[in-house]
Assembly symmetry: C2
Homo-oligomer: 159 residues x 2
Amino acid sequence: MNNNEIMVKMVLDRWFALIARFEGLLNTLTDEQLQKEIAPGKNRGIYLLGHLIAVHDDMLPLLNFGDKMHTELNEPFIKSPDKATLQIIEAKELRAIWSSFNAILTKKINGVQPEEWFQKHTAVSPEDFINEPYRNKLNILITRTSHLSYHIGQLVLLG
Amino acid sequence: MNNNEIMVKMVLDRWFALIARFEGLLNTLTDEQLQKEIAPGKNRGIYLLGHLIAVHDDMLPLLNFGDKMHTELNEPFIKSPDKATLQIIEAKELRAIWSSFNAILTKKINGVQPEEWFQKHTAVSPEDFINEPYRNKLNILITRTSHLSYHIGQLVLLG
């Protein structure tokens, strides 16, 4: 195992550990619990579920995996705060989207070779990347891992 | 910048960004707000503050930086859940401990050379480290970063 492989394993292990924790948590919560606010006046569980799918969906173009698959979640779960738009997506449907989408994202992440993780992500220009080589694909996973952990800390309050 | 330096920078940038976010948040919260529960029946803000100091204090021996400095926080903030022990430490005092402790930890983290981060942490034996080279010092920082993010997601609910 060289250092590149070690680094990639550390980052991917953390990502997948949190994904597993999120899914375990989601499975313990009922659709009714997801409709509740994590704290009085704060986001509902269902909003956080939609938000995580939408943010992870953005990783597809950023990591050069392809186009976003769920652009319909952008408006209600990224651009708008909770309860600002008419919520037409049911918890049951969001759970199904999460499952199928996360399976696809997982497969794509596992298909990346260690050295590819150090290539630039798509939101940085080749010129900027020369001086900012840390703006690579692995960094996308690092930042999204702490984003995921932040919201798991909130979703756990519904239990 | 070689890949080791890039990796260390990515991980340290994330850690320090979250530390800054936590401190910014802490500064906006009053001592009275810290006494409140983040959600009904859940941990209070003051518990999370003490918990984060105690967990970060554990990083000192793990990263071979020296002995823990605040063993008195172990019992009330790691071993015990919130409200299980008599809370004798005031928010004002915990804020002061956080500030002085975090300044020391920051200095120690910044003093580590990139290649040192790939050395084993102290909780793994040299024999195990041969087969599990990802159990290194950098991984301690990676896991504590997601721990910190998890609790920031909760503390923000007090605002």
